[in-house]
Assembly symmetry: C2
C-alpha cells in the first residue's frame, strides 16, 4: 500500500482489519479527520465548544442524527469500523483501545469529524517549505499553552498547539498558505517567544516528539486537534470514543477542496 | 482641509499651490502613490526593475507614452503640478525641490506611479491593529537591508524596508491583511531578528524615525518604496524627478480597490 492508495481502497482495508495503524502519509491529497464520538446528552455542548473554538476544533462534518454511523459528506463511511484504531473513554478515563466499535455502538451516539494538520502540512510541503517533523520522521511536537479555550458546558481547558520551526520568510509564507485552510486549523496562532503562550521548554513537548529549532528559525505555533481531547478529559462524559493518535478517519474530500480561495 | 477631503479637491489645492506639504492622513480611503519620472532612454530599464522587484516597487500605473503628463487610470491628473513637492535629480544628485515641474517637463518623460504603505496602514488600522508610527505621529522607520534587488540595466541596489512592531498574533493578522494588497508592498518580507536581513540597530533607522519595540513585540518588515530611490541613486540617470518624501500623488483609486480578494 502506498501513499497513492485511494481513500476508498484504504478504508476497505481498515474496515476489514487489514490496516490498523497510523494513516500518516497514506491516501496523499485526501483529508484525514480527528474523530470524537459522544452520546447525544453531551453532543450539543461539544458542538457549541467547537463553534466557540474553531481554530483548535474545526468541525468538518457531523452525524445527521444520533445513532447514524454514516458521514455522507466525507464518503461512504461506516464510523463503527472505518477508523484504524479507536480509544474508548468511560467517565473521562481511557478504558480500552480497539479496532472496531460495532459492538459498542449505541443509538444515541453522535460523530464529530474535525480537521487535522496533515492537510495543511501537505500544502506547506507542496509549496516547497520544509516541515521539520516530516523531515525527521517523527510526530509533531505539541504543547499545552496557558490560553483558555472558550468553555461550553463541561467542555473547557487550555489550548494545545503544535509547533513547526521556520525561517522568517517561510513563516510568513506558511501564514499565507494556512490562511486558505481555516477548516484544518487555519493560520498559526503564535510565533516566536514560546513563553508568551505559557510554554516553558520547547525541548519538552507535552505530546509528540521534540524537533530542533535552529538559530535562524522561529517556532511557529498552530492550534492543535489534541485540544478537544483535553476538553474531553475535563468534561469526563460517561462515554466517549475518539480515534487513536495518528490513526485518522480517511475521507473522500480532497485537501484542495478545503481551501476557501 | 480634513482627512475627508476628496482626492479631486485635494489635487485642486495642490495644483494651485495652496497645499504643498505632506499628504499623510489626507483624502482617507484613497490610494497615494510614490512617483518616479524618467526620460524614455532610462524608462524601459526602470520598468524592468519594477517587474523584477515587485515587492519594493509595485507598479500601479505608468504613462501611456513619453511626454504624456496624464495618468488616466488614477484620475484626472496633471503630473506636472499635482504632486505637492518634487525632487529634481541631475546625474543622480538632488538638484532642487520644487512645487511644480511644468517648466521642467520634456517630451521624453515617462511617469511611474508606485504603491505606498499608507494604503496597507489604513487596512491594518481598520482591523483594529495599532500602527506604532501612526500612534506616535512620526515617520515610519526605514532601513537599508543586505538583500540585493534584482538588477535591471543600471538600476540596482539593496532593498529598503519599513518596520512596524506587533505582538505575534497581530503580526500574523498583518500578514493576512497585507497579503490582500500586493500592489502596496504586500505581505511583510521578514519578521523577528533584524540582523538576519543586515540591520544592525533598530534604534538607528536609515530613513524616518525610530519607534519603540516592546519586549512582547516582534519587529515586522515590509519592502519599502524608498528602494527605487536608492536604485535611482545607483543608476545616476542624467535627469529624474520624484515626489518629495511624504508628499505623494493622491489618486481617485480607493484603497479597497487594490485588494486582490
Amino acid at each position: 500500500m502506498s501513499n497513492s492508495t485511494s481513500p476508498q481502497a484504504l478504508r476497505a482495508k481498515i474496515r476489514s482489519g487489514e490496516h490498523s495503524g497510523n494513516t500518516s502519509g497514506f491516501a496523499a491529497g485526501y483529508v484525514q479527520c480527528n474523530i470524537v464520538i459522544l452520546p447525544s446528552a453531551q453532543a450539543n455542548d461539544f458542538l457549541r465548544f467547537c463553534q466557540l473554538n474553531p481554530k483548535p476544533c474545526p468541525l468538518i462534518a457531523m452525524s445527521n442524527k444520533p445513532g447514524d454511523f454514516s458521514l455522507p459528506p466525507l464518503g461512504n463511511i461506516d464510523m463503527r469500523s472505518d477508523v484504524p484504531s479507536y480509544r474508548v473513554f468511560r467517565d473521562g478515563q481511557l478504558n480500552e483501545e480497539v479496532q472496531d466499535i460495532t459492538s459498542l455502538w449505541r443509538g444515541d451516539l453522535v460523530t464529530f469529524a474535525l480537521g487535522c494538520s496533515f492537510s495543511f502540512e501537505e500544502a506547506l510541503l507542496a509549496d516547497g517549505l520544509e516541515v521539520r517533523n516530516v523531515t525527521d520522521g517523527v510526530n509533531v511536537p505539541m504543547y499545552r499553552t496557558d490560553i483558555d479555550c472558550n468553555p461550553a458546558g463541561a467542555f473547557a481547558g487550555k489550548m494545545v498547539v503544535s509547533m513547526r520551526p521556520f525561517k522568517a520568510a517561510d513563516a510568513i509564507r506558511a501564514v499565507q498558505i494556512c490562511t486558505r485552510f481555516p477548516s484544518v486549523h487555519g493560520a498559526p496562532i503564535h510565533l516566536g517567544d514560546p513563553s508568551q503562550i505559557g510554554i516553558a521548554d520547547l525541548g519538552k513537548p507535552d505530546y509528540g516528539d521534540a524537533v530542533s529549532v535552529r538559530d535562524d528559525e522561529l517556532p511557529v505555533f498552530w492550534a492543535c486537534g489534541v485540544t478537544p481531547q483535553v476538553a474531553l478529559e475535563a468534561a469526563k462524559p460517561p462515554f466517549a470514543i475518539t480515534h487513536s493518535p495518528g490513526c485518522m478517519l480517511v475521507t473522500d474530500l480532497r485537501n484542495s477542496q478545503l481551501a476557501i480561495m
